[in-house]
Amino acid sequence: MTILRTSNLTKLFGKTLALHGVDLNVEAGRVVGLLGPNGSGKTTLMKLCNGLLTPSAGEIRIADMRPGVATKAIVSYLPEVSWFNDWMKVQDMLDFFSDFYQDFDAAKAADMLKALSIEPSAQIKALSKGTKEKVQLILVMARKAKLYLLDEPIGGVDPAVRDYILSTIIKNYNPEASVIISTHLIADVEPVLDEVIFLKEGEIVLHEDVDTIREEKGMSVDKLFREVFKC
């Protein structure tokens, strides 16, 4: 079952072409790495998938549906920014997610908070930046979504948290759902990925299975990335 399909997906911001002619197919049960330098269009692609942006041209289909209310119910998005307000406690956010998302597993979220020693009664605005990121990740991963879009989930965190995040992604694995992770830290993420997409200046230059790259090119994805995107 194809979770995500785009054809000729294009996004124009004023005069800037952020994405151009993107044709993509992601099957269910895959963990996909979306790799590319800053400004290559990774975030734009994710925002098009979750409905925050509308295409300038081309089509995008999530589980065969156009982005809208129905797709938002099955897409779980972790942006790079923190979307918390300043009046809620952690528990309030859990209630919020339970209220709006049918696929939210409150018990699972509570377990994950416990594992990271985060108090549900804590005021979110009093938490450290790192802890806020963890809470945001927990909320996103505690949903039984069909498509997870994680924008730079391991960028600003320490190695221990990085391991926890990758371990959560593996634990969460569901053959009916797919995960798209955009990142710079390729070496860390590579063992978790099924396939990778290289995005260069808004265009796809590579979309391949990780094993195939290692088999045919005899190098890791990380190494290949450095070659393809040499400065």
Partner: protein, 122 residues
């Protein structure tokens, strides 16, 4: 702690070797039940699909079999395990002899050296 992998070879191949080693060395004895794909993937910190590929290769080689409702088991056929053990040992010996040849020692010299080298304190 995640397992460490070489970066220039497919991970599923390395996973297969790792699990094979555990089988032939007795960590998973004949007939023993293997942990689930999910558990192994978590422990190794790898993609479950990749681990599944590794296990399927082992199954193809007859070292592992799947019982639909109960999971994966190591084969009870000790002969198969012994053969795999020997094959693995021969591989290592070949590699060793290659390295000795690069240093300049042939098979004889290597054998003598093995006999006379004191066992390293464990």
């Amino acid at each position: 702690m995640a397992w460490q992998f070489d970066t220039d070879r497919p991970i599923y191949k390395q996973l297969r070797e790792r699990i094979l080693l555990q089988i032939v060395s007795g960590t998973y004895g004949a007939g023993a039940q293997l942990p689930t794909v999910r558990e192994l993937a978590e422990e190794a910190a790898v993609n479950p699909n990749t681990l599944q590929k590794a296990l399927m290769e082992l199954e193809r080689d007859g070292l592992v079999y799947t019982q639909r409702t109960s999971g994966r088991f190591v084969t009870e056929d000790e002969a198969v395990i012994r053969k795999a053990k020997n094959d693995l040992a021969k591989e290592q010996i070949d590699l060793f002899l290659q390295k000795m040849a690069a240093i300049g020692y042939d098979r004889q010299d290597a054998a003598v050296l093995i006999q006379t080298t004191k066992e390293r304190k464990q």
